[in-house]
Amino acid sequence: METVKVLNSDEFAIELKNISYCYPNVEEPCLKNINLTVQKGKFIVLMGATAAGKTTLSLCLNGLIPQLLEGKLTGQVSVAGLDVRKTAVQTLSKVLGLVLQDPETQIFGRTVEEDTAFGPRNFQVPLDEIKQKVNSSLESVRLKGYNQRMTEELSGGEKQRLAIAGVLVMEPEILVLDEPTSELDPIGRSEIYATLNDLRTKKDLTILLVEHSIEELIQKADEVIVLNQGEVAWRGVPIELFRNIPLLSKWGIKPLPVSQIGWNFYEKGWISFAEIPLDIQAAEGMIRALLPKYGLRQGQVLVLGEGLGHTQEQNKDCLLKQENQMSEKKISVQVSELFYQYNSAQPALRGINLTIEAGEFVALIGQNGAGKTTLAKHFNGLLKPTSGEIIVEGMKTLQYDTSELSKTIGYVFQNPDHQIFSTSVAKELEFGLKNAGFSGKEIKERVDQALQYTGLERYRSVHPFSLGKGERQMIAVASILVLKPKLLIIDEPTTGSDWAGVQTMMALIRKLHSAGTTIIMISHDMDLVAQYAKRVIGLKDGEIIIDGTPQAVFSQEQILLDSAIIPPQLCRLSSHLKDILGNETFIDSSEFTGMFESWETTGC
């Protein structure tokens, strides 16, 4: 930081002095006294909980605040030496390119070429030059040769990269990206990151990236800036931040699972702060180094570990048997020979056979387009099988309407904004009950219950759209919960939520599960899947390729690799430690720490 001050001011790509901003009709300022400088050529990651002001800050940088959005802005923003207040957004766009969250609204052209050319056309760049620029920027986002493709037919990742190309084509010095990967699957995400890395090395761009998760970026980013409630809370190198678990949890940032293990050892005093691992190799090394010193004797570990496994399994078996005796295995979902075909294209589902028992917690995983959502939509009759049969809670979906099935089968969609239409949270919750034909008193009782259950009580009469995305997501869940479904299907319940939001949501789902609701969750977040689900079903090209406990599924690395699924970090670590762990796959950091002496008691 000291050296930064010595630098000449024209070496700063971005310079913020005392920035405060308040949205119109809102009392609490969104940004408070932000002082920030970014050196040219740096790769900065901007992190923080939702509503910390990350998006607002990026809008300030290219002049959309205050030029398009009203509200009160004080302080001075300069970008590459230009005063943002005095320079038109359009002119600034040649200096600083901003890629917004939703690629859909950033694509104007029908073909890829038409869209990419949009920017330079506005600056009346001659046609030949435009063609050249379009081609080179498409190449730099790995969309070479896509020129004549229809934008509508691109995949999510391709759309996002096209949005980046549309900004790059104006050849800015600085690139600001606001959560460009929030709705992408792991493959799409790594493509974006690879693109950014290319850009940085080849074009020497200054990059400011707003992002929730950072696992892949720790080694690539120069600095992390953490915003908390509109203020710069922390700034420094990523490794410093990600080793400091308490700091992360304070700001609502997801910690890396391996560093969680490391932190436990650091607290014991076994390793120094700088030794807290941030990737799998380091974690492997740490565990190997510590085992002889503090671990249970190796032989013992194995025996104990296996013993543990057995007893647990036996216990489980006993429990299962007990359950069986108490109530005969109730089947929640029974799918036989399901085929489904969208109009004329390849079949989206090919011969699915599946039984889900009541009370299970199932996660559906797979790449985008693998058929997860298509399968799930069959469970509540939104889609009817082309051939085959589905029986859900004793009802053949072919014979029932979705409105009938919705009384016992809840389906929460990914985007809450597609369903919210009432003027208050309570009214939103009443809607489903009215459809199901409940009476006044029952409706009131159930709404009260659901509000309490989801922690939305204080928002009862608030307009849903005045709340944040996390709360809206919760409203969507609550509006299904009022119906007290026996089977709950949740599609990507944590997209775009911060770590705190993710935990609240998952805690709620776990609570529902332990209350006996059958849960089917679709998710790209393998850490969550491993941590919460009891059974994992992997799909690829419309077929089930793997089905089992999280431990069993995530140890099948080859199968997962083929279907472009990256197992959770801890499972990958387990496979690195195969010689020690045998065939066991750990999915929780406590299982690793359990291998060591002082956790002996907790391990058992």
């Binding site: 052209g109 506005n122 001659p126 759209f465």
Partner: protein
């Protein structure tokens, strides 16, 4: 429906948009100066040939025509009964086939039925011709045409954006319908109030989502320099080829000939 562009490289695809527009105008004139269904049938037939030539899915156009059958029948009936003999120049057309009501009232004229047939033919050939036009002309060409006709740039921008967002909004609509169905919405409630009420859960999120999209769209447009100047680089200059001149000449000749035949020789009237 009509805005679909059929990728292709046929003769008509390659014609300049202005030539096509001119040809379309010529066709309209032809279609309107002749009253006799015989000539109209000729026009329909030649339009059909044209469509066949560029391999336009005629079945698609047929599908569009099917729901119009009741209208077609009623047009023939209405013209048949309402066109009085005095409206026709030819004696043969003035012939009254029969009366519906006693006392020689509400007579059906032969000319009326023929006129009805003409209307139908006009309708059909118009549909084929406009399909040929839209299916062979890209949106880009149309915006170029507007540009040449001195229509402001904002209009063509609006047009292209609207067309670009039709599939997006349609996807939104489907997602919203699914989300509401999952909450037990029924879309078949009775009565006008009931049916309007049952669409509120679709319409409101649709509006809200559109507004949110429009909001970020406007940000993204500014972001990419829209509105800095009032003009922008045209992606493709329109240019006439030899074939364009041929087609234009042919059209002019054909229209002149038709006008001569119709006015001087009094052929093709009823």
């Amino acid at each position: 429906m009509l805005i679909e562009y059929l990728q292709g490289d046929s003769f008509i695809h390659r014609l300049d948009v202005r030539t096509k527009m001119f040809g379309f105008l010529g066709f309209m004139i032809l279609s309107f100066i002749f009253q006799d269904p015989k000539y109209q049938l000729l026009i329909v037939f030649s339009m059909g040939l044209l469509a066949f030539w560029i391999k336009i899915p005629l079945r698609k156009i047929g599908k569009m025509l099917v729901p119009l059958i009741p209208i077609i029948i009623s047009i023939i009936l209405i013209t048949g009964f309402t066109f009085t003999p005095e409206r026709f120049e030819r004696v043969s057309s003035q012939a009254i086939l029969f009366y519906v009501l006693p006392g020689d009232r509400l007579g059906a004229t032969l000319g009326g039925f023929l006129m009805g047939t003409t209307f139908i033919c006009r309708l059909t050939s118009m549909m084929i011709a406009s399909s040929v036009l839209t299916l062979t002309t890209s949106i880009d060409d149309f915006t170029q045409f507007f540009h040449k006709m001195k229509v402001p740039a904002e209009v063509s921008m609006m047009l292209t954006t609207a067309i670009r967002f039709i599939p997006t909004l349609d996807k939104k609509r489907r997602l919203i319908i699914e989300a509401q169905k999952a909450r037990g919405t029924k879309f078949n409630e009775k009565g006008i109030v009931g049916s309007i009420k049952s669409y509120l859960p679709i319409m409101i999120p649709m509006f809200i989502n559109s507004i949110m999209m429009a909001n970020s769209l406007s940000m993204a447009m500014l972001n990419r320099g829209y509105g800095l100047t009032r003009t922008w680089t045209t992606m493709r200059e329109l240019s006439f080829e030899t074939s364009d001149y041929w087609v234009i000449t042919l059209t002019v000749l054909l229209v002149t000939l038709a006008i001569f035949v119709r006015i001087k020789l009094q052929i093709g009237v009823l």
